[in-house]
Each structure stands twice: as C-alpha cells, then as structure tokens.
C-alpha cells in the first residue's frame, strides 16, 4: 500500500487510433495543489510505472492550465472533467484516467473533438461582419442582453456536455448541448440574428435539437456552468416557431 503522501493513478493507454487499449499504474509523491495535469507532467518527467517498468510519457491535450482553453477534458474517475482544474486532493484514489469515450482516440488520453467544430460551422456560430469595407459600429446591446449572452460566451468547447449526454452517440448523431447554446448566443446578438433562420433550420436536420432527451447531464457536468438546459428550451421554442412559420408561410 502506498503511504498517505503518494498518489496512485491508473491510466488507460492506447498507442495508435486502431491498437488495443491497456492500463498502466503510476505512483507519484504528492505535492500541495497538485492537479491531474501536473500529475501527468510528473509522469512525463519520469515515465516509469508503479511496477518499475519504463514506459512512454502519457499523451494528453492541454494548453492553458487554468480551465479556459477546453483542451484537457478526460474521464477522471469515470466522469468527464477538466484535468487542469481536477485537484488531486479532492479525488478518490486510485485516480483512474481514461480518454473521452465518444470521440475517436488519437493516442492515450488525446481524442479528436473536431465534431464540435463541424457542428459549430453547420449552425453558422458566428456574427457575419466580414467584408471589404468598414461596416461601422453595431447596434447597442442592453445590459440585460449582455447578462444573458455573457455566460453563453464562456463555452470552452471541452465537449464534456456531449460526453455525458445519453443521446450523443453514433445512433443519433446528436449535435450536443454546446452547439445549441452557441445558437442561442448568436441568435440573441443584434447583428448575429441575421443568420437566425439558417441556424434554426440547420438544427432541424437529422441529429438536430429534437434528439435531446432532457437528461440534463450537460448542465450538471459543464465546467463553465453554462445555462445549457435553459438554452435547449429557448432554442427549442425558436426552432418550433420556425417550423410553424415554414409550415404556414411557404
């Protein structure tokens, strides 16, 4: 048994996207304020398993180390979390680390989350201001609008909401909560609303907002506390109005 000053990690490893996964155990000495990313850095500095076998450093995505870039999402003790903000002191040991299960594995804990980028492009999650000349300043936004919009702009594209969603899988091809929240954000923007109809129609396609089963895991798991269920309800209403308009006005 490890003494109280050590940290045991069980990590699911996979050399290539096609090869078989396997588990490796590591034992590290505890340092105050240690988080999962810093533990992975310690392993990289001395890549030796608990059994004393030399191994390769664990591959993982990370960048900002302060829960703002969204790259280090992984399964920590079975739940999708950001490795940088997962403090070792708050985690049950042994700490199991595994890659997100619903995204293609690149290597070890690194997965390919480009499906979110594709989805954001499909719903035109941007404000159309690009052009060849200066369009001048946009319409003023009220403080009330800003308060609604700001939490939605906090999305870090970590994909935790999609990983935890029972409806996000191969069978549904569901778009996921993050994209729907961005539709709400850009539809609420006075200039962004120019593309509102296109966004709502995109969300009526297969894998669209209708696949939401309202299990509400998204809003529970979101590290940035986005109002995801509220956004799904609000955009759900917008999509229904669009559908009714399409039915009676075209």
């Amino acid at each position: 048994m490890a003494n109280s000053k050590s940290v045991i990690l069980k990590i699911k490893r996979q050399q290539t996207p096609e090869s078989k996964p396997y588990w490796e155990e590591f034992e590290l000495s505890y340092r105050p304020g240690m988080n999962v990313t810093s533990a992975l850095m310690d392993i990289a500095a001395k890549p030796v398993t608990r059994q004393g076998k030399p191994t390769t450093p664990v591959t993982y995505d990370s960048n900002c180390l302060e829960e703002i870039c969204g790259s280090c999402a992984m399964l920590i003790n079975g739940q999708a979390k950001m490795a940088c903000s997962a403090l070792v002191a708050n985690l049950k040991q042994p700490i199991t680390l595994a890659p997100l299960t619903k995204f293609p594995i690149v290597r070890d804990l690194a997965v390919d989350r480009s499906v979110l980028f594709e989805n954001l492009k499909k719903v035109k999650a941007w404000i159309p201001v690009d052009g060849t000349y200066d369009l001048g300043s946009g319409p003023r936004q009220s403080a009330e609008m800003q308060e609604e919009a700001y939490p939605l702009s906090n999305c870090i594209s970590c994909c935790c909401c999609m990983e935890a969603c029972p409806q996000f899988n191969d069978k549904t091809g569901f778009v996921g909560a993050a994209t729907i929240a961005q539709v709400r954000l850009f539809n609420s923007h006075p200039t962004g609303s120019a593309l509102k109809t296109e966004r709502l129609k995109a969300l009526m396609g297969d894998g669209g907002i209708q696949e939401c089963g309202y299990a509400q895991n998204c809003v529970e798991i979101c590290p940035k506390e986005l109002p995801l269920t509220k956004s799904i309800a609000a955009v759900g209403g917008q999509v229904m109005w669009q559908a009714i308009k399409d039915l009676f006005r075209t």
């Binding site: 996207p17 619903k102 995204f103 293609p104 690149v106 290597r107 690194a110 390919d112 480009s114 499906v115 980028f117 594709e118 989805n119 492009k121 499909k122 719903v123 999609m162 935890a164 029972p166 409806q167 996000f168 899988n169 191969d170 069978k171 549904t172 569901f174 778009v175 994209t179 129609k201 995109a202 969300l203 009526m204 396609g205 297969d206 894998g207 669209g208 907002i209 209708q210 696949e211 939401c212 089963g213 309202y214 299990a215 509400q216 895991n217 529970e220 109002p227 269920t229 509220k230 799904i232 309800a233 609000a234 955009v235 759900g236 209403g237 917008q238 999509v239 229904m240 109005w241 559908a243």
Partner: protein, 242 residues
C-alpha cells in the same frame, strides 16, 4: 513521421469515426420526433384523462359504469374515432418510442443525477406502458365479450371477472403507475423541449405541477380498481360468453 501525422489530422473532411456531425437540411427525424412528443399529449394524453375519468364511474356502481360505456360506444363514427384518436396514435407513439429507446444510451451508472434518472425512468415506464396497453387493449377491446354495438351492459362484469385474479390487479396497478408517470413526465418534457418552460425556475415549478398530476392520476386509477374489487358478486350481472 508523415504517416503518423496524417492519422491525427483533424481537418474537417477527415472525421470517419465517432459521432457524425449535424446533418443540416437532411432527414425527417425532426418532424417524426416532434410528432411523437405531440401525440403523447394530444390525442393520447387527452384520451388517457378521459379514460381515467370515465372508468372512475365504477366507484358509483354497476349501472353508472355501464351507462358511461353506453354513452362512449354510441358516439357517432365510434370506430373512426377510436382508430384515428386512439389506436393509430398509440401505435405510432409506442413503436417510434421503442426506436427512441434503442437510440439512447442510458448512463445513470456514471452520472447518477436526478434528471438522468428521470430520463431513464421515461424509457422504462414507456416499455412497461407499451406491454401493459397492448395487453389491456387486446383483452378489453378485441377478446371476450364485445362491448361495442349494444354490449355495454356487460362492461362492468367484464372488468370485474378479470379482477378476480390478484395477478391481473397487480398488473393493472403497475400499468396505471407506469402510464401515469410516463404521461406526467412527458407533459413536463413537452413544455421544456417545445420552449414553453424556458427558465430553471419555471421548469422546477412546472415539475411540481406534473408530479401532482402523476399522483392524481395514480390515485384515480387505484380508486377505480377498488370500485370493481369491492363490488360483491351478487351485484354483478351474469355475462353470457360468446
């Protein structure tokens, strides 16, 4: 090096594994799924409430119950009504519901949260309701003494005889609880998904209303069963079987 680099290339056209991106402008699942949601409220939910109210006439006795069945079975175009407003919507809601269940991957083991349990409960109560309603419709509408076309005087007896078996009563209790729960939570889901209850507080408050609706329906259902069970055999008219 070049080959390993291409295997981690994340450019857009290369997603071959994993969940497919949104298929904007493709397919009919939006209409089918929203129709599934709507059909659970109207006509199925509306019929369910009518059915519970009508059946509760059993608590007033044999005559009151049979009179209610007489009224319902003598409605004009009764066969059109039952096919358009009951059987076809039930078939659609049930079969498409099974497809929805197949497509979801319940994960309460990893994420044991209230909303997730309710998500899972909606699938389990759905399958129980499907089996129960299939049995109930075949048994009450298509087998045994026929209540349509003047057979109404046998209505109370038909149910009463069925309830002589404690297993049937148990099955009805399970069915009533599952259907009531599925309907009440379905109303809550409808309000959330169609954008009627947008805010967190609105959804929570409407949740209490839907919970009360579930309890009310279960109460009416169980009270109705006691109406049959507590009627002594000598008050139940003899039914001549076909």
């Amino acid at each position: 090096m070049a080959s390993s680099a291409s295997s981690i290339d994340t450019s857009s056209a290369r997603i071959k594994q994993g969940v497919a991106p949104l298929r904007a402008g493709q397919g009919y699942s939006f209409v089918l799924r929203r129709l599934h949601s709507l059909s659970g409220i109207v006509p199925i939910g509306a019929f369910l409430i009518e059915h519970f109210i009508s059946n509760s006439e059993a608590t007033k006795g044999v005559q009151a119950y049979n009179d209610q069945v007489k009224f319902l079975t003598s409605l004009p175009f009764v066969h059109v009504l039952e096919w358009v407003f009951i059987f076809l919507p039930l078939l659609y809601h049930g079969i498409y519901g099974l497809y929805i269940w197949y497509k979801g991957d319940s994960n309460v083991g990893e994420y044991p949260w209230t909303g997730n349990w309710l998500y899972t409960s909606q699938r389990w109560t759905g399958i129980i309701a499907f089996i129960y309603i299939a049995y109930h419709v075949i048994d009450m509408r298509f087998l045994g003494v026929h209540l349509m076309g003047g057979g109404y005087q046998n209505a109370f007896s038909k149910v009463w005889f069925d309830f002589q078996s404690p297993w049937t009563i148990a099955f009805y209790v399970i069915g009533i609880v599952a259907v009531s729960w599925h309907f009440a939570y379905g109303v809550w889901l409808f309000a959330a998904k169609w954008g009627l209850t947008i805010g967190d507080q609105a959804r929570r408050k409407f949740g209490y209303i839907c919970a009360a609706l579930a309890i009310l329906l279960i109460g009416i259902g169980l009270w109705t069963i006691t109406g049959f069970v507590q009627t002594p055999a000598n008050q139940v008219p003899y039914v001549e079987h076909d």
